[in-house]
């Protein structure tokens, strides 16, 4: 019947995309992002297996060699293998990215949740504190704090945490305020559940979606900021391999382009990966964009 209809009525529309093509259109970039991130995580774990060089071995006789069979991405000013430092560098970048964002998310959500749930004066105080932090450009504030605390990965992470939590607090607060007035929360109140139980069992599970999206998108952001701080001489203590400081070391070596460009590309790829994945998760969580 449908065949007969299709020929009888000349409706001029392209054939419907196949199931696989539609899946690809919807989740293609997200799975590309996930693949990139997964690849970097595996590299971070298996870095020693993937290279025969040592990241810290200085060999001045072999300095600033262009990419070759022995040193696939060349060597830097101290004769260290760029590829090896790049692989080891993924460890610190991924760790700081995850640690900063996840700690900030937990702390921010908790603070935002308390603010949203208590309302009144506590909310006012919490929100003004977030305003205070948010009114500084994040990298400048982190720079100032990190400089005061001294060089080192841990201090830089602490400095970033201070700058990072308020946006999670704000988002969590608005999400929880929305959920608070939902009928299922009122139903839980009427059934007589305690406020803590309502918050933990009912409100937070229904608010995490957008938080997960922000976490994913933000890890890339944190990696860039950390690299930025390292570039500026804070962050890791040399000679620890780190992408930001590697770019910094190569910034005046225009002729020896490989020293700065490969770590730069590494940062680019990981940030793009997290952005693709974050966008994908957002689309997947948003029922409105899900159809189609």
């Amino acid at each position: 019947m449908s065949l007969a209809q299709a020929t009888a009525v000349p409706v001029s529309i392209a054939p419907v995309a196949s199931k696989r093509r539609r899946w690809w259109r919807r989740y293609g970039l997200a799975s590309l992002g996930a693949t990139i991130i997964l690849a970097w995580i595996l590299i971070a774990i298996f870095a020693p297996v993937l290279t025969s060089h040592s990241p810290d071995l200085v060999d001045v006789t072999n300095r600033l060699k262009p990419p070759s069979a022995a040193n696939l991405l060349g060597t830097d000013a101290l004769g260290r293998d760029v590829l090896t430092r790049l692989l080891y560098g993924s460890r610190i970048s991924l760790t700081t990215g995850f640690v900063v964002v996840i700690l900030a998310a937990i702390f921010g959500t908790l603070v935002g949740g308390i603010a949203a749930y208590s309302r009144g004066r506590i909310e006012e105080i919490v929100m003004r504190v977030t305003d205070l932090v948010l009114c500084f450009p994040p990298i400048i504030l982190a720079l100032a704090i990190a400089a005061a605390l001294g060089i080192g990965a841990t201090n830089t992470i602490i400095a970033m945490l201070v700058v990072w939590w308020p946006k999670f607090a704000r988002l969590a607060r608005s999400l929880i305020i929305v959920q608070r007035s939902q009928e299922y929360v009122e139903a839980a109140m009427v059934v007589g559940l305690s406020p803590a139980r309502i918050l933990i069992r009912h409100i937070i599970p229904n608010s995490v979606g957008p938080l997960i999206v922000l976490v994913t998108l933000d890890i890339g952001n944190a990696i860039i900021t950390f690299a930025g701080l390292s570039f500026l001489g804070l962050g890791v203590i040399p000679p620890t391999p780190e992408w930001g400081s590697m770019v910094s070391e190569g910034r005046e070596l225009i002729e020896q382009w490989w020293v700065a460009s490969f770590p730069g590309l590494a940062i680019l790829s990981i940030v793009v990966g997290f952005n693709f994945l974050g966008d994908g998760i957002r689309d997947w969580l948003d029922p409105k964009s899900r159809r189609r």
Binding site: A4, Q5, V11, I13, E183, E186, A187, V190, G192, R292
Partner: protein
């Protein structure tokens, strides 16, 4: 194959003599989803004569809205028109180019949508939006367009149109916006107006105004109207002919009066009988006629009659797919039984199966009140919501949501609470349930004043007072299974001791509300609206309450499901001796289910009376207006009835009128009404009204 031809054949034989302005022939619209092809509109044919009013009726999912959107080619991927013709003034809309479509939309055919809140652009002034629709078709100058906009708004019943035109949509109420939408629709004097559930989001009084307006516009401009609605009363009010849709097909077509009095398709029959009638209340007949089951899976329509699975009149031949055939001039049906000349009998009401009360479901002993004893007392309950201040030193404004309500509810009775939206009925329910704390006054439940009690203090009483909410999609936590939703209160209140006992109890609860115990393992999104409402009721019953507040529990459901839920609530009441505070805006339902009815207006009680007396002889003018505004699904009654359209809109609850709050819309208001607020006085035995001139308005 064969039935396709038959439909196409009958589609050409238009029932009216004039050439139809719209002739839909064998329209097929399908959604290409990941799960498969959904045939939302599956071979629909109908026609509309110039100046005619046609109603399309059906439950949600029947394809009526998709059909309407198809007429304008407003569908987006993954929906496609895959077959058929839509002849508008002889030209096929399906074949039109984008350019031709634009020219037709708004100029030839106009459309009004259900939700007046989202169908206007919030950042443009009304003037811009109205003038734009006239200017794009290039017939008038900008000045003329603005002038015409003012005239049109005035015509649509908007007071002070000169000022209104310079407003933004958010400054208007829902009814006013729907008037603006109509003005926009009529700005180019279309020959056809498609109105998709135009009054569903509105109050009855406003609905009556809009329906009257539609009928007038049809008369004055001779514009044909296609009115889509789930409410047969609305259709009876406006339309001369009806098309009934079920599972993507037209199942019956004919003149409204004939269809309403003598339906020839069992689905129409069920639709008509599932609705309680405000004008025809039979005392003692508490249960409504319902049909079991749900519409067929749109991905997998049965090969035979699509209604057969739910049909009380099923015969062997129903395994074959019936065609839409003319049984009498102008009347078509898609049913083997009536095509063979049989009538559908008047329904016998179902009697509930004898209740088998499980021992565990019985209610607390000892403290139980006898029927008729006072359970809930509200004394001068006030709830004000402060608004954010405009400026720091500005005056604090408050919304007077509930403003001094006194009410007693006795054990075992059902008290209906009605009023327009914004009258404070939901707020009052939430104050009683102590989701909100009252600003003043006292709420006494089982002799205990709970108005200022902390949540911890109220907790023991929570087991006796429960609430069922309006929105079945928002009232269940989407991330918990049904078992977890029902088990949580059981464990929290230590009603059950072991996990096994909890499981058993959840199974009992699901049985009681008519669901399978297997439902416990599933998530709310796997259920339909009616099933979710059953889960909601099961959750309320889990703690064995004796008092249930039902906040519009059926207003989001289709009529047949509404009837099922009402029947369930009546069953449960008889079985467990429940007391209900039943909030609804549908007066027919309230009359059907309630012993006593409370009418609220702008936060105050207008009238309290036993249901029969209130509907037979209302004392307050507002009650009289409310009752008169309810459309009755009977064209004959509708014609004889004296229409009393209530003018205007409810005033703002931020700054309510002095004295009697209804005086600004009251036809019999006098000087005293502005000075003193009338107290609630017992004018006749059991009948209380707050009116200086109670019973004087006829």
């Amino acid at each position: 194959m064969s039935f396709v031809k038959t439909i196409a054949g009958t589609g050409q034989a238009a029932p009216t003599s004039a050439t139809p302005i719209l002739d839909v022939r064998d329209l097929r619209t399908q959604f290409f989803t990941d799960e498969g092809v959904v045939k939302a509109v599956d071979g629909v044919s109908f026609s509309v004569a110039p100046g005619e009013t046609l109603g399309i009726v059906g439950e949600s999912g029947s394809g009526k809205t998709v059909a309407a959107l198809s007429l304008m080619r407003l569908l987006e991927e993954p929906a496609r028109i895959v077959g058929g013709q839509i002849l508008f003034q002889g030209r096929d809309v399906v074949q039109m180019t984008a350019e031709e479509l634009r020219a037709m939309r708004g100029d030839g055919i106009a459309m009004v949508f259900q939700d007046p809140m989202t169908s206007l652009n919030p950042v443009l002034k009304i003037a811009r939006q109205l003038a734009e629709t006239m200017l794009v078709h290039g017939k008038v100058s900008e000045e003329q367009a603005l002038q015409r906009a003012v005239t049109l708004l005035g015509r649509m019943g908007i007071t002070a149109p000169q000022r209104a035109i310079d407003s933004y949509p958010h400054q208007f109420s829902g009814g006013m916006r729907q008037r603006v939408m109509l003005a926009m629709g009529f700005s180019n004097e279309p020959s056809l107006l498609i109105a998709d559930e135009p009054t569903t989001a509105l109050d009855v009084t406003i609905q009556a105004q809009i329906l009257d307006l539609l009928a007038e516009l049809n008369r004055d401009y001779n514009t044909a109207i296609v009115l889509i609605s789930h409410d047969l009363g609305v259709i009876a009010n406006v339309c001369s002919r009806v098309v009934v849709m079920y599972a993507g097909e037209v199942v019956e077509e004919g003149p409204t009066e004939q269809i309403l009095t003598d339906p020839r398709h069992p689905y129409t029959w069920a639709l008509i009988n599932a609705v309680p009638r405000i004008d025809r209340h039979v005392p003692g007949q508490r249960r409504l006629v319902t049909i079991e089951g749900t519409p067929p899976d749109p991905l997998n329509q049965p090969p035979g009659c699509r209604f057969a699975a739910r049909c009380p009149f099923k015969i062997a031949r129903c395994d074959e797919h019936p065609a839409l055939t003319e049984i009498r001039p102008g009347r078509k049906t898609r049913c083997w039984v009536t095509q063979a000349g049989e009538n559908l009998p008047q329904p016998k009401t179902q009697v509930a199966a004898p209740a088998t009360v499980k021992a565990g479901m019985d209610h607390g002993e000892g403290t139980k009140l006898r029927r008729g004893e006072r359970m809930l007392e509200l004394r001068n309950v006030v709830k004000h919501f402060p608004l954010p201040k405009d400026t720091f030193f500005g005056k604090q404004k408050v919304v007077h949501a509930v403003d001094g309500v006194d009410l007693d509810v006795a054990q075992g009775e059902t008290v209906g609470l009605v009023g327009e939206s914004g009258c404070g009925k939901s707020t009052l329910a939430r104050v009683v349930a102590r989701i909100h704390q009252p600003t003043a006054g006292s709420v006494i439940f089982h002799g205990q004043d709970i108005s200022n009690a902390s949540q911890a203090q109220i907790r023991p009483l929570r087991r006796r007072m429960q609430m069922v909410f309006q929105d079945p999609y928002a009232s269940l936590n989407p991330r918990m299974t049904v078992g977890e939703i029902l088990g949580e209160p059981l464990r929290f209140h230590n009603i059950t001791a072991t996990p096994a006992e909890t499981r058993e109890r959840i199974g009992d609860l699901l049985n009681v509300v008519g669901l399978s115990p297997k439902a416990a393992a599933r998530y709310p999104h796997e259920f339909s609206g009616g099933q979710r409402q059953r889960i909601s009721i099961a959750r309320a019953l889990s703690v064995q309450p004796d008092f249930i507040i039902a906040d519009e529990p059926i207003s989001a459901l289709d009529v047949n499901i509404q009837a099922q839920i009402i029947n369930l609530m009546i069953d449960l009441q008889e079985r467990f001796g429940l007391t209900y505070l039943f909030i609804a805006h549908d007066l027919a339902v309230v009359r059907h289910i309630s012993d006593r009815v409370v009418v609220l207006y702008l936060g105050k009680v207008a009238e309290i009376a036993p249901a029969d007396k209130l509907f037979a002889d209302p004392l307050h003018p507002y009650t009289r207006y409310l009752i008169s505004a309810v459309p009755i699904p009977d064209a004959e009654v509708e014609r004889k009835r004296k229409r009393m359209p209530l003018q205007g809109e409810p005033p703002s609850a931020i700054d309510p009128p002095s004295g009697c709050r209804f005086r600004t819309r009251c036809p019999i208001a006098q000087g005293i009404c502005a000075e003193t607020a009338p107290p609630v006085v017992e004018h006749k035995p059991g009948q209380f009204a707050a009116c200086h001139f109670a019973g004087q308005f006829k």
